[in-house]
């Protein structure tokens, strides 16, 4: 092997890389915020919701969980315009991530709701709360606390999965790597560096989520 590594090429493209990192972070911030909200709603619908809503949500969850993110993204970006719905690449990427994360977090949060002792629901009912109020004020937070580690892992997995949005020309970190590769022909260096950045982001994101968890759930979970 007589390949000479030259990482110096990357320095002049640092703005592109920073922009890519920011867009990746923006994607995961919007994806996590709306995705987890959607997941909470779907988990409520599947576990406690009205009977007509359950099969609809179940179909959505199964469809998303059993197809690749790349195809969901292509369907939204290339497929929807044929029925008159044109989306920009960033909008399409955001929507795809929210829909994707919503389905996965639904199943995780549902597990948390189902692990909640029945007495909690009964206690809520005995205080004359409606089932929804019981869910909102009594069940939701401890359920989230129970499955918080799994939720964090899923958010990190989806952040890493977001690298495919470069395929619809959303200018995330992978897009920056591809851009540099196409200009300098230094493929190996460009991908090594961006992979290292992804690894750093994954470790950082996990830490941030753990700290966030300790703010959202200040009290220890009763056993």
């Amino acid at each position: 092997m007589n390949y000479v590594f030259e990482f110096g090429w990357l320095a002049q493209y640092y703005l592109q890389i920073v922009k890519g990192v920011l867009i990746t972070l923006e994607l995961i911030a919007i994806g996590a915020g709306f995705g987890i909200s959607l997941g909470i709603f779907c988990a409520w619908a599947r576990a406690l919701g009205p009977s007509w809503l359950k099969p609809i949500v179940a179909t959505y969850v199964e469809l998303i969980r059993n197809t690749p993110f790349l195809i969901q993204l292509f369907f939204i970006f290339f497929g929807l315009p044929s029925i008159g719905l044109h989306l920009g690449e960033l909008t399409a990427a955001n929507i795809a991530m929210v829909i994707n994360l919503g389905a996965y977090t639904c199943e995780i949060i549902r597990a948390g709701i189902q692990a909640t002792p029945k007495g909690q629901f009964e206690a809520g009912a005995s205080l004359a709360m409606t089932p929804f109020e019981t869910f909102r004020h009594v069940v939701l937070l401890p359920s989230l606390q129970r499955i918080w580690p799994a939720l964090c892992s899923q958010v990190v997995i989806v952040m890493l999965g977001s690298s495919v949005v470069s395929q619809i020309a959303a200018e995330d970190l992978t897009f920056a790597a591809n851009f540099i590769q196409s200009r300098t022909f230094r493929a190996f260096e460009a991908y090594m560096v961006s992979t290292a950045i992804y690894l750093g982001l994954a470790i950082l994101l996990r830490q941030v989520l753990v700290v966030l968890g300790s703010f959202i759930f200040p009290r220890r979970l009763a056993r």
Binding site: L63, T67, P68, F74, G79, G161, S162, T195
Partner: protein, 219 residues
């Protein structure tokens, strides 16, 4: 201009599906073999072996599969190997799935009560014998549902190999779209084919989980 019927589209997609299935099988079996090796390193008594396995798992789970594919595709070329897309795809998917399978199986091995290790040690068994005769048979039952569940991730992971130019179901979808200008139909069908591949796997994982619920039987 040639007109394409829905059947033409579907036939072409189904023909490409065999490459998705083949690549999934190769990645899953190869990943299983490498994963088993990693598992032994991960629970080994040697500190260096444990550290290697930990870093390996952290590296492959902490970076995007797409980047691993790119590095395999472009990186292997540095060694003077002419890398066809299928080789890079297979290699990256094997290494990637190994990291997840090793971690899944570690959880299963660690869920076996410590007394089982101690009891078999008191019978004078070596570490490999303990693993082979006592721990492994019990861990296997716990491991089946999550392993089947992970195979769904492998099938979905193969979709990314289209980006480095391996012609499987996703790539065929793009090619057919470019020929027919019917992205809605084509990607809808592609999604349905993936669903038909993955859903039976995730269903059977759920059913197995209920049937083989050995982990909680004695508690």
């Amino acid at each position: 201009m040639i007109e394409f019927s829905t059947w033409d589209i579907l036939r072409n997609l189904l023909l490409a599906t065999r490459w998705t299935i083949l690549l999934s099988l190769v990645s899953f079996v190869g990943g299983g073999a490498v994963g088993l090796l990693l598992l032994f390193l991960r629970i080994s008594k040697r500190k260096a072996a444990r550290a290697f396995a930990t870093y390996y798992i952290e590296l492959f789970q902490g970076t995007p599969l797409l980047m691993q594919l790119f590095i395999a595709f472009f990186g292997l070329g540095l060694f003077g190997v002419d890398v066809p897309a299928w080789l890079a795809a297979g290699l990256a998917l094997i290494l990637w799935s190994a990291s997840f399978l090793a971690e899944i199986w570690r959880g299963c091995v660690e869920s076996i009560a410590k007394g089982q290790w101690e009891a078999s040690a008191s019978l004078g068994m070596g570490r490999l014998q303990q693993m082979r005769y006592v721990v492994f048979p019990q861990a296997l039952k716990i491991a089946v549902p999550p392993t089947v569940g992970f195979s769904v991730q492998v099938v979905k992971g193969t979709a990314l190999t289209s980006i480095i130019g391996f012609v499987e179901l996703s790539k065929a979808g793009t090619v057919v779209t470019n020929a027919t200008f019917q992205p809605f139909t084509v990607y809808g069908l592609v999604a349905l084919i993936y669903f038909a591949l993955c859903w039976p796997l995730s269903r059977s994982s759920q059913i197995l989980e209920r049937k083989l619920n050995v982990a909680h039987r004695n508690h």
